[in-house]
Each structure stands twice: as C-alpha cells, then as structure tokens.
Amino acid sequence: MPNNLSYENVTMRFEGRSGAVQALDRFDFQVKSSEFLVIVGPSGCGKSTLLHLTAGLYKPPTGRILLGGEEVREPGPDKAIVFQNFSLFPWKTVHDNIDFGLRINGVPAADREDQIKRVIRLIGLDGFENHYPRQLSGGMQQRVAIARSFVLKPRTLLMDEPFAALDAQNRQIMQEELVRIWQTQRPTVMFITHSVEEAVFLADRVIVMTRRPGRVKEVIDIANITGDHHWRADPFDEVIRRADFQDVRSRIWGLVKSEISVRN
C-alpha cells in the first residue's frame, strides 16, 4: 500500500477575535511513501495546522489531502499524531496507554499483549509497564507516546515538535532512537521542529515554510546531498561537527531567518 501524501492547494483560515487568520495559503506538495519529511519555518507559519489537517482532526475549507491516493476525511490510527507535550493518558499505566489504541480498534486480547511487549522492548522501557506517566522522565514519556502510535502500524506518523520539551541530552538520544524505531516499519513521517540541526540530521527532505500564510519557500533534498549513507546513520554528535553538515545547516538557517526578520 503506497503511503505517499499529496497536498492539493490546501488552504486553512481560522476565525479569531481580531478577524480571520489565514494559516495556510494554497499549500501544494507531494511527500513520497516512507519518506522522512521535516518542516521548519517561523512560529505561526501554519506548520502545526498542516499536521492537524493531515491527521484529519480538521477539514480544510479548500483543497485536498490524500494519503495513498485516498482523501483524508477523519482522524484514525493510520494517521498517528504525536504532540510536544506527549499527551499520554495520566490515569493509565504505560501498558494501558499503549493498549488503548489496540483495544478500541478491536485487536484480540491475546495479540495485544504480544504487540505491547514487543513495542515496549523496542523503546527500551521493559520493567516500566506498570508505571504511570508522571513517574517517567520527559524522554521516557515521549517514547511511550511514540510507541502508542507506532504499535497501530500507522501509514504516516505526524510529529508536532515532539522533542521540544526535552533537555539537550535527551533530545539527542531521542533523535537517534526515533530513526531506529522508524526504520523497523518506515511509515511516512511528517516532522515539525524549530531546530534546524534536528531537521538536517533526520530528514530525507526539509521544507522551509514562509511566514503566515504558510507556503513552501524552499525544499532541500538532504538525501540527495548525503547519498546512500545518510547523516542519521551516524551518531548525532559526530555528524554535527562535519563541514558538509554545517554548510547545509547554515543555508537552511539563513532561509528561516529571512522569514523571521523580514517583517512588514
């Protein structure tokens, strides 16, 4: 099943107190199946809106979003979304948080236990099954949130600044972990971040968006620059010291900066 995402002239506006806000303006883009796409851009450029629309949480007033050729109409486990603040159910243990999606989607009990065990091992949280979210560090909570989505075998994984709430060390570890987890199933990833380094390290391609109303400013094909041996295959702290990595990083940062500083 192809898991490519097509955005066809997607527009989104919100009615606010101080009039309507145009969040996205004719966003037109193709994401390849199993691609790791990272989006950067100034605050309020409509990145999060784009992700919520892709998840089917809202419907765009004009334009269409297609996943594998079918129009996205409602949210569902094939379009998993992971938020910055983890959004785990605080009254459920790690085990029950992961079980939630499996259970409500009618997976038989015997299979569920098996899959939960496997995904908990994948994220390295064996022994924490019966902990509540508040008993875990931020990094561990975000692993559970990723596992909770990942166990449903989503066709696309939508991540809204997933590591922004973590400290620098945990962030680095989670970036490497995410690559490892992603490679076991390779869903199409849409990943939003404010960190240009994170974008350059993780992405097959990086989209730089304009300030509001958000449009595609430029697309940087990282995989084309790195060739077969992608930066994400190596440890993050080694990669960021390399000159070719820094070149790309500063080029993208320049593009983002021009969108932040060009005001009025």
């Binding site: 919520h52 998840a55 949210p75 603040n85 959004s87 159910f89 605080p90 009254w91 449903l152």
Partner: protein
Amino acid sequence: MNGSARSNALARALFGALSVGSLLFTWWLVTSLELVKPLILPPPSDVWVGFLDIWHGYLNVPFWNHFLASISVMLGGYAMAIAIGVPLGIFMAWNRAVDWVVGPLLQILRPIPPPAWIPLAILWFGIGYAGKIFIVFIAAAVPCILNSYLAIKQTPPELLSSARSLGAKPHTLLFEVAIPSGLPTIMTGLRIALGIAWASIVAAELVVSLAGFGFLIMNGYRNLESNIVFVGMAAVALLGLLMNLVFHRIERAMLPWREDQDNG
C-alpha cells in the same frame, strides 16, 4: 518522607495540640472562676454530663436514633445528588443542547441558599424524611453538577485529539477520555457536596424534626440546657471531620495516578 518533613509534621502536631489545649484550658478557667453564667458558657463538666445524658437516652431517645436520623437522611439526599447531579453536569458539558436547555434553569435556582428551601420542602413533602432528603439533595446537587460540568469542559484538547487520532469514536472519547481525565475535579465536587449536605441536614433539623443532631441542639436551646447544645454541636463537628477523612481515603484509592499521591 525525609527528616525535615517528619520534624515539620511533628511541630505541626505539637502546635495544633497546644492551640486546642489552650482553648480548652481557657474554657475551663473562665467557667470555674464563674466569670460567665453557665447558660452562656457551660463548664466542661456540665458538657460531659450532657454527653452522658444523650448517650443514655436524652428525653428517652437513644443516642443512635439521633445518629441514624441525621446520617441516613444526609446519605439519602447526598446519594441522590450524586446520582442525578454528576450525569447531568457531564451531559451538559458534552452536549450543547442539554446545556442550553438546563443551563438557564440552574442559573435561576442556584442563588437560592438551601435553607430558603426548607418552608417549601415542608409544604411539599411534610416534616418526615422526604422533606429533609429534598433539602440535602437541592444543596448537594449544585457542586456535583458544577464540578462535573467543569471537569468535562477542561479536558485537555490534545488528549482528545490524541485519542481521536488513535481511533476513538465519540462515546469512547466521553467515557474513556473526558470522564477519567475529569475524575479528580468531579471528586472535589463530591467532597464539597458532602460538607454542604451535612450542613443542610443539621439546618433542616433545627427547623423541624423529632430526632437528629439538629433536633438535639434545638431542644437544648428550648430547655435552656446549653450543655446539650454544646454536645450536639461537638457531635456535628466530629462526624463532619470523620466523613471528610473517610472521603479523602476513598479519593486517594480511586485516583492512584495523581501527582500529589507521593507526598503525605
């Protein structure tokens, strides 16, 4: 609990004992020096006699009759308030139409203090149990409705979005996300309602009753036996305290995932 927390708790208990002790001592001193008349402030010994009086059947009514009269009516009205108030608050918060229909009625009835209902309750239901249960119900239902309403309205939007993205349908969102997420707020409402229920049963008994702690207090007053008034008030205070403690235990057992469970 660490060392400093333990010595804090010790100091707190010590100061508490000291303040209660000095109140009792002042009471004893003022009455034994006969600075005030026994009718205004009966000496501790008189109150003890009054207690023995009540314990052995004041005016030929056994103590447990008073206890059962107050407690059974209170629990009856309280249970009704929970059974009707909590679902009503939840459905008002979940369904706009219910909110629009029921909301204005509540806004009209809410400012009426529970004791103001007493005459009407007697006219409608007579001076037996039914009238007092009605008073307790009216008084306790308000915090049940309001807190349940708030609890559902304050469900973090990202929890709902996450659940929808994991495949949850509306009834799952209500019963498995909004209600458990709001349970602490609902429980707070039930705790407030318990205190109000206890206050209103005593108030109702002060006006009309043949048994119960409110009856004891009023009878002591009519017979100019202020020691009986004191015993009645002390019994109301102690039972109120005890009920609050029991409720606190139940609350903790029901919400093992709460943040504040580790301290204290």
